[in-house]
């Protein structure tokens, strides 16, 4: 007779939550448009940010635990917003590196989204030169790597005859893009840009032998399936020491024979701890005082 320990009850809750949607998915962000300004003209200055982005979810396996195993899916995708965090590091007045990342919720495995960025200043002043208004532009390269891992032990939940299983589903690929902006005042900039992303989705499942010897150890894979994502964005940045971004984006995603098109609005918050170069404040009027 099984006892009702809190751990076992938690296991059953997880199982019940999983039952209607035990589908294994791969998750990756849409092509992302970088703001056109670089943070600083001197090396090793950092800026931290949080931003909402649109993620895509690609169905890879129906269930990693089912025996006999159900064939890979690859027949649907969905999208939803998520908050990602990151940092940018200046290398010189022309180059900047960035990383955007987030942990993902999954049972029994390491799951994450990470995007590395290298940005090159095409023209215009870097962001600390707030005394300069006018045009600025940048080109950039991204590489996204995302993994959803999970594992389970059917024996623990279902008793004798169970087996352990684990799965990984991956999303990765490069993207390139360009953006151009205009700084109207030290605290207000508008920009537009476009990014083109190519990505691959693939995955694997490992199942241990069952305790009753009915099934041997098995490994399955979801073959690499390529896709692309194209985004155009228009953004408004407000602030000096802290910066709020309001970004409207249109994204087209294609994956195999599936396509998805959407227009979304996202927010970003950036925090730069370093001093900005600000203009002197001009007087409104003057009069002699004797």
């Amino acid at each position: 007779m099984h006892g009702r320990s809190p751990l076992r009850i938690l296991g059953w809750i997880c199982t019940l939550l999983c039952l209607p949607g035990c589908m294994l998915v791969s998750i990756g962000p849409s092509a992302y448009v970088e703001p056109p300004d670089l943070i600083h003209s001197e090396p090793y200055h950092m800026e931290f940010f949080v931003q909402s982005e649109q993620l895509h979810e690609f169905d890879v396996f129906t269930s990693a635990a089912s025996r006999p195993f159900v064939a890979p899916v690859g027949s649907s995708m969905a999208s939803y917003p998520m908050v990602l965090e990151g940092a940018r590091l200046s290398l010189s007045s022309d180059w900047e590196l960035g990383i955007t990342a987030a942990p993902l919720l999954s049972f029994g495995g390491l799951s994450y989204i990470a995007r590395l960025a290298a940005k090159y200043r095409l023209f215009g002043a870097t962001s600390e030169h707030r005394e300069f208004t006018g045009w600025n532009g940048a080109a950039y390269f991204h590489y996204v790597d995302s993994r959803m891992s999970s594992s389970g032990d059917q024996a623990y939940l279902f008793g004798p005859g169970g087996y352990g299983w684990s799965t990984n589903s991956d999303f990765n690929g490069p993207s390139v893009g360009m953006s151009v902006g205009y700084r109207f005042t030290p605290n207000l900039e508008a920009y537009i840009g476009a990014t083109d992303e190519e990505f691959n989705v693939y995955g694997s499942v490992h199942q241990d032998a069952t305790g009753d010897g009915k099934y041997p150890v098995m490994n399955y894979s979801f073959p690499t399936q390529a896709g692309s994502s194209k985004t155009i964005s228009a953004g408004l940045l407000y602030g000096v020491r802290s910066e709020l971004g309001i970004i409207v984006s249109h994204t087209d995603v294609s994956w195999g024979s599936l396509t998805n098109s959407m227009t979304t609005m996202n927010l970003s918050l950036a925090f730069d701890p370093f001093e900005k170069q600000l203009p002197q404040i001009e007087p409104l009027e003057s009069k002699a005082n004797f």
């Binding site: 020491r241 802290s242 709020l244 002197q280 404040i281 003057s286």
Partner: protein, 116 residues
């Protein structure tokens, strides 16, 4: 519990509303005045207020024998993330304090030659 939440919200509201800055002039002998108040200092003045995002402060700089100059400093000059956070938990009200002053304002004041 609800009372504690309200107290914390109001405490956050009051502290988030404050924006502090410093006004400076290149001429250390110039006298800086905050108009509509008695605050004044020579060369450098620390200032803070609780104005909303569309508010401004009028500043006057004088020096004996020189011109008097007037400046208008806007609370919306910088973005205050705490105002955005407050706006989320107060149903939009806190967004009125989503602006703050820059850390320092360099007021362009130089005594005009010939007025001494």
């Amino acid at each position: 519990m609800r009372i504690l939440f309200l107290i914390l919200s109001w405490a956050l509201l009051l502290t988030s509303c404050i924006s502090a800055t410093t006004f400076k002039t290149k001429d250390p002998e110039a006298q800086i005045f905050i108009e509509d108040s008695k605050e004044t200092a020579q060369g450098k003045l620390a200032y803070r207020d609780r104005q909303w995002i569309f508010g401004h402060v009028n500043v006057r700089v004088e020096k004996k024998g020189c011109q008097t100059l007037h400046y208008q400093i806007h609370r919306a000059d910088d973005f205050a993330p705490e105002g955005l956070f407050l706006g989320v938990i107060t149903g939009g009200l806190g967004l009125l304090w989503m602006g703050k002053y820059w850390g320092t304002y360099d007021l362009d004041y130089q005594c005009t030659a010939g007025l001494h």
